[in-house]
């Protein structure tokens, strides 16, 4: 500490008014900025609180003999308002809620809404995180390839292999297993035998030269795929696929993930395109560092912060999508509670039992709002152009 301040004093003496820059690491700097942005900080606090609640909810409501049973039906106790205490004379002792009161009331089957909300928290959390994880994974992979290797042209041979694989899978779909297997065998043979010879062409393999004709750039291919995916109306597409597949929570996560990677891909590609031309990458390349290392140690750390911000916002929208699907009756199958289907079940009692609508609605609102505030706040913080000068 003392030598730092001494250096600083020296710097002052030498440069007159010149100050040393504050000795803060990027993390400290971000934390410092975050503390000043009260809305983002509130978002973070609510997010952590929600995370803790969802994890405890998993333990409290899961298992064979849960403390708070979200599936326990108590028909005499249906549609009790929040904070009402159970009638002890009609219920068997094991049917009593563990908390002694119905914190958020009961639904039309007398199930404890508080326990159901706790169970739903974990669903919302996992759907949000897994779906966005899939989307960001695909986005970083495709965007990184398009940005870093985009100028490479696919050779005619590559396309040919692609067509062969495609037709093999079509054969497999039609149930013609023999042609499919034969084609796959053929592809592997061609691949293995030609790969070495194409790399180091000898005069004898002239005849295979045409396989190396450049056709289509990798970048073009990936970006056209993005364009194609953007043509689909996203909620309609998700709804169609969810309705066609058997109902399961994993299907929903995967489908939301597979239909929302386009933004990240474009984003990562743009980042990679600009970072690839930076001097520090050129220096790394001049030192002979491998591509993998350049991508993961040099470019990725610089590109990942904005991606994480958009992922935070993506979690918010994935949760809203899941709630919307559950609301339409396509979500997680019935015995399992989610916020969307609690609200959907409660809509028939909207005037008699408004807590069935308000409890999940307000909780979804607060959690999604927290994610949005935190994400937008981080976007401002990580963007030095928007930062206030002081």
């Amino acid at each position: 500490m003392s030598d730092i301040s001494e250096t600083r004093n020296q710097a002052k003496r030498i440069g007159g008014e010149a100050f040393m820059p504050p000795s803060r690491s990027p993390w400290q700097e971000t934390w410092f900025q975050l503390r000043k942005n009260r809305m983002a900080l509130t978002g973070l606090v609510i997010f952590i609180f929600f995370f803790v609640i969802a994890v405890t909810g998993l333990f409290v409501t899961g298992g064979s003999d849960p403390i708070l049973d979200p599936a326990r039906v108590r028909l005499p106790e249906k549609l009790r308002p929040p904070l009402s205490s159970p009638k002890t004379d009609t219920l068997r002792p094991e049917e009593l809620p563990a908390l002694g009161i119905y914190l958020l009331g009961t639904d039309d089957l007398g199930r404890d809404v508080f326990a159901r909300m706790l169970q739903g928290a974990w669903v919302s959390l996992t759907v949000g995180f897994v779906a966005v994880g899939i989307a960001v994974g695909i986005g970083i992979l495709l965007g990184g390839i398009a940005g870093y290797y985009g100028r490479f042209s696919l050779q005619l041979g590559h396309l040919l292999v692609g067509v062969l694989v495609f037709s093999a899978s079509v054969f497999a779909i039609y149930g013609w297993l023999w042609p499919a297997a034969l084609l796959l065998f053929f592809i592997t043979i061609v691949f293995v035998s030609s790969h070495k010879r194409l790399r180091h062409p000898s005069p004898s393999s002239r005849s295979l030269r045409w396989l190396m004709l450049p056709t289509l750039q990798v970048d073009t291919l990936i970006m056209r795929a993005v364009d194609i995916m953007l043509c689909f109306p996203s909620f309609f597409l998700i709804l169609t696929v969810v309705a066609l597949l058997p109902p399961s929570i994993y299907n929903i996560m995967v489908i939301i993930g597979l239909t929302s990677w386009m933004g990240t891909t474009r984003f990562v590609r743009a980042e990679f395109l600009s970072l690839r031309e930076m001097d520090f990458v050129a220096a790394a390349r001049a030192l002979g560092i491998s591509d993998t290392r350049i991508i993961f140690r040099y470019i990725m750390p610089n590109a990942v912060a904005p991606v994480l911000v958009s992922a935070t916002l993506g979690i918010a929208s994935a949760m809203l999508t899941e709630a919307g699907l559950s609301f339409l009756g396509f979500g997680v199958p019935p015995p399992h509670a989610t916020w969307g289907n609690i609200l959907s079940d409660g809509k028939a009692y909207i005037f008699d039992a408004p807590w069935l609508t308000f409890a999940p609605g307000i909780v979804i609102l607060i959690v999604v709002l927290a994610f949005n505030l935190f994400g937008e706040g981080m976007r401002d913080i990580l963007n030095p152009k928007l930062r206030e000068r002081n």
């Binding site: 056209r224 043509c231 979804i364």
Partner: protein
Amino acid sequence: MLTFLSRSIIQKLVTLFFVSVVSFLIIHLAPGEPSQIDPLNPKFTPEMVERMREEFNLDKPLHVQYLLFYKNLFSGKIISWRDNLPVLGKIWERFLNSLPLFIVGTLLTWTFSFPVGIRSAIHRDGIYDKSTTFLSYLLISIPGFFFAYLLIILVVTKLHVPVIGMETFGMSDASLLARFMDRIWHLVLPSLLGATGGVAVLSRYVRGQMLEIIGQDYVRTARAKGLPSETVYYKHALRNALLPFVTMFGLILPGLIGGSVIIESIFSWPGMGRMAYEAILGRDYPVILTINFMTAVLVLAGTLISDLLYMVVDPRIKL
């Protein structure tokens, strides 16, 4: 200009072809078939199922089905599997129902977001800016169906106006004015709900755009030479800040056929979104695929229009 136009049209046609293939594959490769939709119905004997499969070409190979489907689509002969009505006619009818929602929603979005966005940019970090920022995050985060129920509770219990459906049942012999007001009342809530998300996002965008322009040197020059601040903001800054929004006219085009599934189901509004929802439930493949195809056409046309508009408004862009 012409080369740009022809190149992008060819590119978009290729994209459209792939969209049609992908959507066809998604629908047809998913497990389950429309002929098995209701296995408990005693009318569905194996012979019946076989006849239906033959009727709908489901027994043919996939590529033949694909060609037949798009041949029918382009010749306008495509019919729904559920009621044997022509799909295009059905869509047109529902489109006319959704159109008022779309128009009112879009008008609300565009008339609200600009004043709000501009004002919060001018008074940056003031109380107005902070509260509209928070409000727009709130509106982005609120689940549409929850907000719909809030508004329904409010309107029905406080104002005693029926809002579900397109008109109140049994109003046909009321006076013209009463019927008109009834229609308006039924229109207000769904279009307001459709506009909330749009207002929140667009006003944030207007604010950002305006802030960027206000920071430019020529605005400082205008202010330095003593122009009144109204002239500076609304004449010098606003005109340039509006540039990106002109192009957005193209991007709202897909909304024409979208229609919100959730809002239309809550309000029992017989629009496009609800038809799509019913088609999905009934595995009515021709309707699903046609809507999908038309949306893709509108998305591609919208991007083309916005590119062209950009060229018209911004002379710096030469394509």
